[in-house]
């Protein structure tokens, strides 16, 4: 289980860091245009997300590598991936024919991109569950030890 947790954590970290890199290497307004093409958010929110989301992805990736605050970071990553997946699914079902914006530009939303993001979401959910279970087990063990040691 420890190996599964480590593998998932590092794989998700790599994905988040790569996603951040592909966005940060281009002008931020191009990513803002990708968000805008989903036609969900008002202009001010599009601009704010265009500037901050790649940095948030980089922070999530870095924290996943270190393993700090894992339960919270994994839950945050799951929430982000669930939001991305919902937005992509909506655009796909509406036949909007827009770019995914996941890893830079020029990748249209398709069944393949949905499958990829769905797998990432499943992986992130699994990581969150494993991290919570590990924490719960560690807490239980602590309780047992303290019960034994109690005079």
């Amino acid at each position: 289980m420890r190996h599964a947790l480590l593998s998932l954590r590092l794989a998700l970290a790599a994905v988040f860091l790569y996603a951040a890199y592909t966005k940060l290497r281009q002008p931020w307004l191009l990513f803002a245009m990708s968000i805008d093409s989903y036609q969900i958010l008002p202009e001010w929110a599009v601009l704010a997300l265009g500037r901050t989301l790649p940095w948030l992805e980089a922070v999530v990736g870095a924290l996943l590598i270190t393993g700090m605050f894992l339960r919270y970071v994994a839950a945050g990553a799951t929430a982000l991936l669930a939001a991305f997946f919902a937005m992509m699914l909506r655009a796909f079902l509406k036949g909007m024919g827009i770019d995914c914006g996941c890893f830079g530009l020029g990748e249209a939303i398709s069944a393949r991109t949905l499958l990829r993001d769905g797998l990432l979401l499943a992986g992130s959910l699994a990581l969150t569950w494993l991290a919570l279970r590990q924490r719960w087990r560690a807490k239980n063990n602590d309780d047992i030890i303290s019960g034994i040691l109690r005079p």
Partner: protein, 194 residues
């Protein structure tokens, strides 16, 4: 001296012939070039033309800030788009590209369903122009021109329509499909002020 003048004359004629075939709008000296690869039968291209290109032409192209270059990129999944592309290129040779482009997008749903491309195009031409355009649309040089646009698109890694590529100081930026005019305008302003 005579040879020199003849050379200049030939270059001028070649340049004029090239310019006649390039479907561009705006000043050639504009700091930004915007290459648009589109298909007249694609709904996304219609949306781009109506909601983004129209205000862009008014605010940037006609003011000499952006050179807009149209490229035909008819997709094989659309049964009448190749014919529409040939008619548009033919119309360009009689100086009516903008009008034909406009009517083809405006009445897209209608001719895409009925296949009446000729009727739609000729509705914005005079009888004389319509006669010329009909003949030109079947001309091998026009078909070759459309094929050349498609080849240029493939070379630019165009994998769908509409594809918009901005070039500023030799650097290219691929604009995300479906991006609205307001954010695109901000990006162009940023490039112009840099």
């Amino acid at each position: 001296m005579r040879r020199f003048l003849a050379g200049i004359g030939l270059v001028t004629i070649a340049a004029a012939a090239f310019a006649a075939q390039v479907k561009s709008r705006g000043a050639a000296s504009a700091p930004i070039t915007m290459d648009v690869y589109s298909d007249f039968q694609c709904p996304g291209c219609k949306a781009l033309y109506e909601t983004t290109l129209q205000p862009l032409i008014q605010n940037y192209v006609d003011k000499g800030k952006v050179l807009l270059v149209h490229h035909e990129y008819p997709l094989p999944i659309h049964s009448h788009s190749m014919e529409a592309a040939c008619y548009a290129c033919a119309a360009n040779r009689v100086g009516k590209y903008d009008q034909v482009c406009d009517v083809l997008f405006r009445k897209q749903e209608s001719w895409a369903a009925t296949g009446k491309v000729d009727e739609t195009v000729c509705s914005v031409l005079t009888a004389e122009e319509a006669r010329k355009v009909r003949a030109l649309a079947k001309d091998q040089s026009v078909i070759a021109e459309v094929q050349s646009d498609i080849q240029a698109g493939r070379a630019a890694h165009v994998d769908g329509t509409p594809t918009v590529i901005l070039t500023h100081r030799l650097k290219q930026y691929r604009i995300p499909t479906g991006a609205g005019y307001d954010i695109l305008r901000r990006f162009i302003d940023q490039l112009l002020t840099n």
